[in-house]
């Protein structure tokens, strides 16, 4: 007796010409019970999710429509907080910082990862490559705050970075990288790049190993040079992996909190302030819960606006 509640995956092979005969009456009650039993399996996950994610999400939207200090009564402001977010130059600059970080968190790791993956293609099974896989992964394993602390010290005025620069004769440009208005944000970007470059490299390396070497042979026979080989064979095959790299790193850039909190606290001035940290400060230090929530909603929408097109592009490419 076939259970009507089990679905069949569209890709699952169906014996040619057979069709599931809907037999309602005899097994209806058992089917119904099985259906509801099935729902019991979803309830715990849905419950925790609803209580600790969906409800707060709805509340964030609600808070954003009020002016509230978190303790006393609140006053309705409608879209006033959103108007502030989009008109206050300081807040706009903060959002801009998140996008600027995308260059360091996303573009650099992806490009570097591609370069490395391409160049080590032939030695990808060697012991060096396997050791590299472990070592390059270390930044992903440690807490981001630890990375922030380590790099804060490295980039300080008496840190390794300046020591290295002096050693190679560039002593003139040494400075406190995280304390200088013009270099603070790129320095934070450097920390993020360090954390993410390993992930992208290993991801792209593993994607490359799945490429059929005969494709390269075919390209070679057709007279393709290195560049054509890259664009015609390599890139299309690892499209999924690249999309993943870009998605993960873009989210890391837009939602960054840990690294900035521990290394610069948004300073000097507001040079490295990012939306994630600003939300935290607005809500818990400045007691402006409404404005913080509006910024939070804007951040959520921005993340979606950046991630969905990437996913769509990747899926389109796969077809």
């Amino acid at each position: 007796m076939l259970d009507l509640s089990t679905g069949r995956h569209p890709a699952a092979r169906e014996p040619a010409g057979s069709r599931r005969a809907p037999r309602r009456k005899p097994g209806a009650r058992r089917a119904a019970r099985a259906r509801w039993a099935g729902w019991l399996f979803v309830v715990p996950a849905l419950g925790m999710y609803g209580l600790f994610v969906l409800r707060p999400l709805a509340l964030t939207i609600q808070y954003s429509l009020y002016q509230w200090d978190g303790i006393g009564p609140s006053t309705w402001t409608g879209l006033g907080n959103y108007a502030t977010v989009f008109s206050d130059p300081a807040l706009l600059a903060i959002i801009g910082n998140a996008f600027k970080l995308i260059v360091a968190f996303s573009v650099v790791p992806v490009l570097l990862g591609l370069a490395v993956a391409v160049v080590i293609r032939r030695i990808s099974a060697s012991r060096l490559a396997l050791t590299a896989r472990t070592v390059l992964f270390l930044p992903q394993v440690i807490p981001l705050v630890a990375a922030g602390i380590a790099w804060s010290w490295l980039l300080s005025s008496t840190g390794v970075a300046n020591q290295f620069l002096s050693a190679i004769g560039l002593g003139g440009i040494t400075r406190a990288w995280l304390g200088d208005f013009s270099t603070a944000l790129p320095a934070v970007g450097l920390i993020g790049a360090w954390v993410l470059v390993g992930l992208c490299t290993v991801l792209l390396m593993s994607g490359m190993t799945k490429i059929d070497p005969s494709l390269y042979e075919a390209a070679r026979i057709d007279g393709a040079g290195l560049w054509r080989e890259f664009t015609a064979v390599t890139l299309p095959s690892i499209r999924q992996e690249i999309a993943v790299c870009v998605t993960v790193t873009v989210i890391a850039a837009l939602a960054s909190f840990d690294i900035v909190y521990i290394s610069t606290q948004g300073g000097p001035g507001e040079a490295t302030m990012v939306p994630g940290l600003e939300i935290y400060e607005l809500a818990f230090s400045h007691r402006q819960v409404g404005l913080a929530s509006a910024l939070a909603v804007v951040l959520i929408v921005l993340v979606l606006a950046c991630v969905l097109p990437i996913q769509r592009l990747a899926r389109k490419g796969a077809q």
Partner: protein, 464 residues
Amino acid sequence: MSVQVRASRRRGGALAVAMLGLLAAATACSAPGSPQAQGTAGASAAPATSTASATSAAAACGTAPVTMDAYIETGFQVPNSLMAEFTKQYPNVKWNIRQDQFAVITQNAPRVLASDPPDIMRLPSISDLVKDGLLKNLDGYATAYGWDKWPSSELVQLRLGPGGRPRGEGSLYAMGLNYSMTGVFYNKKLAARIGMTSAPATLAELDQDLAKAKQAGITPIVQFNGGATGGFAFPLQDLMAAYGPPGPINDWIFNKPGATINTPANLQAAQHLAQWIKAGYFEADANAMDYPTMISRFTHNSGLFTFDGDWESGNFDKLMPGQAGFFLMPPAQAGGPHAAMSAPLTYGIAAKAKHADCAAFFLNWVATNPVARTIDVQVGGSHPLGASGASMPAIKAGTVTAQTLAAGSVIGKENGSMDFIANATGAIYASAWTPELQKLFAGKETPSGLLSTVQADYKQELGG
């Protein structure tokens, strides 16, 4: 292929429906926040009358073991030493001490007082905390312990009107472990190198000393301006006091209606600071220097002057004995009055503290017990609170501690004490002064822009 496109379009549509549903649910609910919040300003106006009799140790801290929760600042030994001594004298009282840097305490204060109230806590600016009803009204203790018989200037900065404004009058909402004196410390060895034999008596003389130091290749001023606390506020406020009377500055800090920081005298002060910056009198990485780094550099003879306070005197006497000197910021006019930042080391009791009586007893003990007062001066370097004429330990002549204590009486006589401009509101240091001072140092802000931006932020914080 088409199935996927159709599915993703349906997925997108369903997502939109889900989000709209959330939005509808959100707006339909009642407004956040309670209309009758626990501890509004009105509720905490009435002082606790039951504490009138609880002034003995047995009544305040009991005889059973008690663990007090203290949230204090890192880098300063005074509270730790005082609490250790208190436990020695009252063994049933133990301390659970949590320490954080000043900027972190400033950030955490509202949240910690509301959700995890300590019994005693180092407080940054208190007006916002009083407005939200987070601090205990100490009037009852003040009457019971006789704090209101002390010189009024000691506690005036800790008094607030209902709702947290204005400051300088009204109920007492915090106490101090001591009160500080600030000014200019100098390195005697480096001073001798440029022929500086006595403290400069006018601002012009100070400028000359700075120029001489720069010419001799000595860093004129070691001053921190990094992280979340812009230390250039010290020289700025000292310059403000050199150019104008302290009264208007105090009015602004105390949130008196109509007060402004953007005055002609203050503009001159900011311009003077900008001149010092342009002349290269500060270290190149000032914007990345934090307070402990400044102390470390100064005590390692890396600069001639530093603008700091007497909480560091004990440290200077220990790390550079006989090598450190102190003078009050000289006025612009010869023979003019002196002014200096002098504020209590603010410690308060959370409104919901579990052991408020014992905390108040401890605060009183710090100001009245002779051993505590000695610790205050020797470890902290600052003058304890308390009645005038209360016991003071003997200070060795020639120490910088002796100089800072002596300066206190000058300021007292000339009525020149000010609170710190960083304390005007809860957020003004982190959100206005620090970024603006850092920009001024980097050449990205003008003196008048600095003052007008800070004033605008001030008005927004008070009005909003």
